[in-house]
Point group: C2
Chain length 466, copies 2
Amino acid sequence: MALAEQLKPAVAAATEELRARFGDRLSTAEAVRRHHGTGEAYHPVSPPDAVVFARSTGEVSEVVGIAARHKVPVIPYGTGTGLEGHTLAVRGGITLDLSEMNEILEVSVEDLDCRVQAGVTRKQLNAHLRDTGLFFPIDPGADASLGGMAATRASGTNAVRYGTMKENVLGLTVVLADGRVIETGTRARKSSAGYDLTRLMVGSEGTLGVITEVGLRLAPVPEAMSSAVCAFPSLEAAVNTVILTIQSGIPVARIELLDKEGLSAVLDYAKLEGFEIADTLFFEFHGSTAAAAEQAEAVRAIAEEFGGSAFKWASKTEERAALWEARHNAHYAILARARPGERTLSTDVCVPISRLADCILESKADLEETGFWSPVIGHVGDGNFHMAPVANYDDPEENRRVQAWHARMVRRAIEMGGTCTGEHGVGTGKMPYLEVEHGAAVEVMRQIKRKLDPDDIMNPGKVVEP
Amino acid sequence: MALAEQLKPAVAAATEELRARFGDRLSTAEAVRRHHGTGEAYHPVSPPDAVVFARSTGEVSEVVGIAARHKVPVIPYGTGTGLEGHTLAVRGGITLDLSEMNEILEVSVEDLDCRVQAGVTRKQLNAHLRDTGLFFPIDPGADASLGGMAATRASGTNAVRYGTMKENVLGLTVVLADGRVIETGTRARKSSAGYDLTRLMVGSEGTLGVITEVGLRLAPVPEAMSSAVCAFPSLEAAVNTVILTIQSGIPVARIELLDKEGLSAVLDYAKLEGFEIADTLFFEFHGSTAAAAEQAEAVRAIAEEFGGSAFKWASKTEERAALWEARHNAHYAILARARPGERTLSTDVCVPISRLADCILESKADLEETGFWSPVIGHVGDGNFHMAPVANYDDPEENRRVQAWHARMVRRAIEMGGTCTGEHGVGTGKMPYLEVEHGAAVEVMRQIKRKLDPDDIMNPGKVVEP
């Protein structure tokens, strides 16, 4: 915290200036600061010195301009649902809360696209789209803001068919570290016009600029959507079913894995009954009625080969919603089983699908040997899975043991040709692994960071240290 | 050419050093230089001072290292099939020919991916994949190198279903301007681990580094592939069929438009008979037998609404191949109708699909008023179309008139929410329009260029001037 201490006088001066401009839309109240400095996961609480609630790109530019003059940190904040400490004010500074920038600016049904302010959440957008025949397919579970989802390159359960934020962001409005406002991308579906600044900003986690508006692709609501649950005799059998499904090119919309422990926690938390407690796959099929039925039959035949149970179907909207709601609350379901003082280290890796079974089984066995417990939950169609060991992270010894396991898990994934994070982002939690994964390329990331944010004020202490 | 003259002594010194290292794999022969300095389109011939034929990433790094020490231009060269002057040595310097880097390094059938050297062409890759059940779907027409396709963010006829190089490159090996070698991306299907350097390099056209290896996603060969041709009473009717098809979410693999003039040129050149000469759509349907048939029926019903003819089918591999071969040779078919001394200005724009009919019809009418002729050929499922006015570009007055039309066409597309190039890239030809499209964001591109290539040696005079 030495750096945060050094910054105090500058932060105080910036805060004064911001208060004069923003009045009671700037808060230094303890509760507000603490709320904005608390993540969903195990990272220590790190409150900012002040929180500004901005309402427009112009206001964001003013805030960043003032922060830039005083060389103090600016931390963009959407819904605070990130899992790697992205919104923690690790050096203090000004948190820029964008939740009041929640206007849906334009929807073009003809062009299957829309433009929203960064604080619009995915559920808000989908509610707005209800009668248009379109939906926004990316679904990371949490009702995250679309600016935040762009900033972390989020994905989630639908990515196997619809892609991630990388594929679905058409363009952005971004406020840079000196207050400049740029527009990236266009409404064209594809372009070869210059460097892909949209993709540079997507996944930059607020360290290169603040995303204030997002242009998004939308998808037509399929004629038929049906969900099925299938229990397997082993984790390996379930994963092998996934591998063969993907290799066969069956365009499944979602394939989610919950291991026995994960399913049990999720069902308990959601008070759902009538499911066999086993290593389980949740499927969703989208398409014309005939195409969805054909996909389901093809997957059923594969599952049967690996000893899968009969499919348990949910085709009605409410049934499907209940099933996915239960799945999405996995994070809270796991926390519900924690003892007082315990939290989770929610981590995700992603590997080539041929290595998925090995990576999951080895990581699980390793955690058991380490003396901790975690469910395995995965967007397995992409080779992406999550573990979240429950432990008392304030106990240095427990923390050390879980972190050592975590390091082994991440290195295992990278050695298998994978990545240290499939969708959560780097934040503070994955910084130690960026160099392991990218080697000399990290220096290029640092060069870009230094050029675009020479005073290191944009969400400092995340992704890369310049 | 003043700059090229100033560079001569440095280029001579670099060439001498390179000759000592590469022997007869360096050429200064007039014919070789001229070949490497000639584009496919209207741009003036601009030969490099020397051409080096590299065989490995290490050799590329050596060449760039020597060029960097002497501060002379390096121009990466694959097959020379770019259409915007990407490989022209506009300031002289060293062309780095990568065509001998044509090894397919790895194919993983299980993971549906591969890794190739940059000089491997897409046809070479697909021939290699023939018995694997997989294929590489991106098809820009020309048998381009995969390094070149990555560098220009190429796409083509299959992009509406399979995406562009942006979506299909998993990772790259890149030699930077100081000779450093980096690896970007991993083999994971998705990642949130740091800045997306892969996407920064894809589409950077050799101005930020030389791509020497490419990791690619592959797609399973569908059970059924069928192509159909449908004639329409007007261009508008054809385009409206496309719009409704896309809006209905029908997962068509290709939808190509050829207007009456384009079809006539293409059929003549390919000596194909039995087609009605009309504004025409070429469709291709991929999927299970049932799914492909269902898609075709849905599209047929839409086409009928707009007065489309009965579908003329090609389901056999050879028939389909003949049809697409004819389409792919459109560029040469147009040239075949040119008089001596005439060439084409082959340009492409991409707009939101709701504006596609307007953009095509206005651009076509404008060209007629300007007194020139061009077919309209489009990957219309993405809102992308091409025009290629035939003219004598050595005649200053003809050149001026066509360029003025070109400027109006590009501005029209940008005003409609589109882009100045959907897939050809910026090269030298689209540089005047980058600022029109991206405004203040171009300065960020320049900042990145200056940081990663401070001496402006990487394919200088393309994309952005630092």
